[in-house]
């Protein structure tokens, strides 16, 4: 079983991915399930349309797609939580946050109502990282330490100038998980898997399609030397456990 922990569907500025293309690609690569976030505009602004897109895709995919919910914190806490509640009621299974597209600091307090709702819903939280100054691994680790009841996925693991921050961030917050997208297995991922304080149980496979070539992501990451048990965890076991489904 392979689970892709993060893709975006819909039309972005430079890329697009339809649900049909996604499912066809998953079939070709042997990816059983994928977590789907909406397109850039729907993360930044049109969040209700985004949630309808992801939950609608999930509802029509026979369990193969799991919807991320989104809400810009600039809606205000109450309105943002209302959007998340609508998404949950429509079947969403996780929260996706993009501090760059949504324009806030991870530590400025704006995202707290969203995280509180994610905790009440039992959702893991995906956070895009790697873009300075407000989407970096180490502040995310501090945020994660403030919410030990939540699991956070460090989207893109700081790619690329902040890959060097990934290991210190993972050591700092035990409820933080790295994703594999863009990461060379023979430098970064090996370091993370062999670190006594991190290990393969803290790494989840993600293609970050359509920004990447999913076949290349899967092929490259598959070269990471792992035991069968650890391979199962990285390629789907861990994210499935975090999702509770």
């Amino acid at each position: 079983m392979v689970v892709d922990a993060h893709v975006r569907i819909g039309v972005g500025r430079d890329v697009e991915l339809s649900v049909e293309e996604l499912l066809t690609g998953m079939d070709a690569l042997g990816i059983e399930r994928a977590l789907v976030a909406p397109a850039e505009a729907q993360i930044a602004y049109h969040v209700r349309a985004g949630n309808e897109a992801t939950t609608g895709a999930a509802a029509s995919a026979g369990g193969r797609l799991i919807a991320y919910a989104v809400a810009t914190p600039w809606l205000g806490g109450e309105a943002a939580v209302d959007e998340l509640r609508r998404a949950r009621d429509a079947g969403a299974g996780a929260l996706a946050i993009d501090p760059v597209l949504q324009g806030f600091d991870l530590l400025d307090g704006m995202v707290e109502p969203l995280l509180d709702f994610a905790a009440s819903a039992g959702w893991p939280v995906y956070v895009r990282t790697g873009t300075p100054p407000n989407a970096l691994p180490l502040p995310l680790a501090t945020l994660a330490r403030r919410h030990p009841e939540l699991a956070f996925v460090m989207g893109r693991s700081g790619a690329t100038d902040f890959w060097i921050d990934a290991a210190p961030a993972l050591r700092h917050a035990p409820n933080l998980y790295a994703d594999t997208s863009y990461a060379p297995w023979d430098t970064l991922l090996t370091e993370l898997t062999q670190d006594e304080e991190i290990g393969p149980g803290r790494i989840v496979f993600a293609t970050d399609a359509p920004y990447t070539i999913p076949a290349a992501e899967l092929s490259r990451t598959s070269q990471l030397p792992l035991s069968e048990e650890d391979r199962h965890a990285v390629f789907g076991g861990t994210i499935s456990r975090l999702l509770g489904r």
Partner: protein
């Protein structure tokens, strides 16, 4: 007040912020005029050309006023054995009080293990590590906090309180990391006000960044020192930031 972030002139290197040359006597005149009792003086040439010569020059500058000027030198950490020897010399023979690092100018990440032997020497000698901060990719407050966590006996100072973009991160890291201190220096006033009221009271310092001016009188630094009075912070906190905290950290008894 005690100014925790100033620089010598550039004597041997050049920079777009070269500034006017000045003597130690002229620097103390600036301090007297601005109401600055004592100052931490950081290597300036050493940011660009981190040689023992830069530390010698710094030591000569602060030696003229040993009760008022406290020097912090720097080393080339990419030459590990030389860095260790020079750190010992800085703190011993030269009488400097700590080390300034500027990771993005000097070209390393705070996570790099070659910093550890140098930090261990600083901690063993009761020294202080002050780092530039506020600037990705290699000088974020959280990166420097991670270094501080590796050396819990070493006082580590965020030299710029996160500047404009990362001050919230600097505040959070100062609250989270016991041996991390924060120097308000170039931090915007609205952020300084928040930091002063929310950070642990004993961990906030002030610095003017004096030494970079085109005038030996350091006019911008005088203005920054005066501006503190307009921040609207409680008197007890002002006293802590400007006097009590730096005196404690520097071990000043008189």
């Amino acid at each position: 007040m005690i100014d925790f972030h100033t620089h010598t002139p550039l004597w041997r290197t050049t920079s777009w912020l070269g500034g006017a040359p000045f003597t130690a006597e002229q620097f103390v005149q600036f301090m007297d005029g601005a109401g600055i009792e004592a100052a931490v003086v950081l290597s300036h040439d050493g940011l660009f050309d981190f040689t023992p010569q830069a530390n010698d020059d710094l030591a000569g500058f602060v030696a003229a006023y040993p009760d008022r000027l406290f020097g912090m030198g720097t080393v080339n950490i990419r030459r590990p054995s030389e860095a260790v020897a020079e750190t010992e010399r800085m703190l011993g023979e030269l009488g400097l009080r700590g080390m300034k690092i500027h990771p993005w100018l000097q070209g390393f990440s705070p996570h790099e293990a070659m910093l550890d032997p140098v930090c261990e020497i600083l901690a063993a000698h009761g020294g202080i590590l002050l780092s530039h901060d506020g600037t990705p990719p290699y000088s974020t407050p959280a990166q420097i906090a991670a270094l501080a966590r590796r050396h819990p006996r070493l006082p580590v100072v965020l030299g710029h309180g996160g500047l404009h973009d990362l001050w919230r991160e600097a505040l959070a890291m100062t609250c989270e990391t016991e041996n991390l201190y924060l120097c308000l220096c170039g931090t915007p006033p609205y952020a300084a006000r928040r930091i002063v009221t929310q950070a642990p009271a004993h961990k906030v310092l002030f610095g003017s960044d004096a030494g970079l001016s085109d005038r030996a009188s350091q006019d911008y630094a005088v203005a920054r020192a005066r501006e503190v009075e307009l921040w609207g912070i409680p008197e007890t906190r002002r006293q802590a930031v400007l006097v009590d905290n730096p005196r404690r950290l520097l071990g000043m008894t008189s």
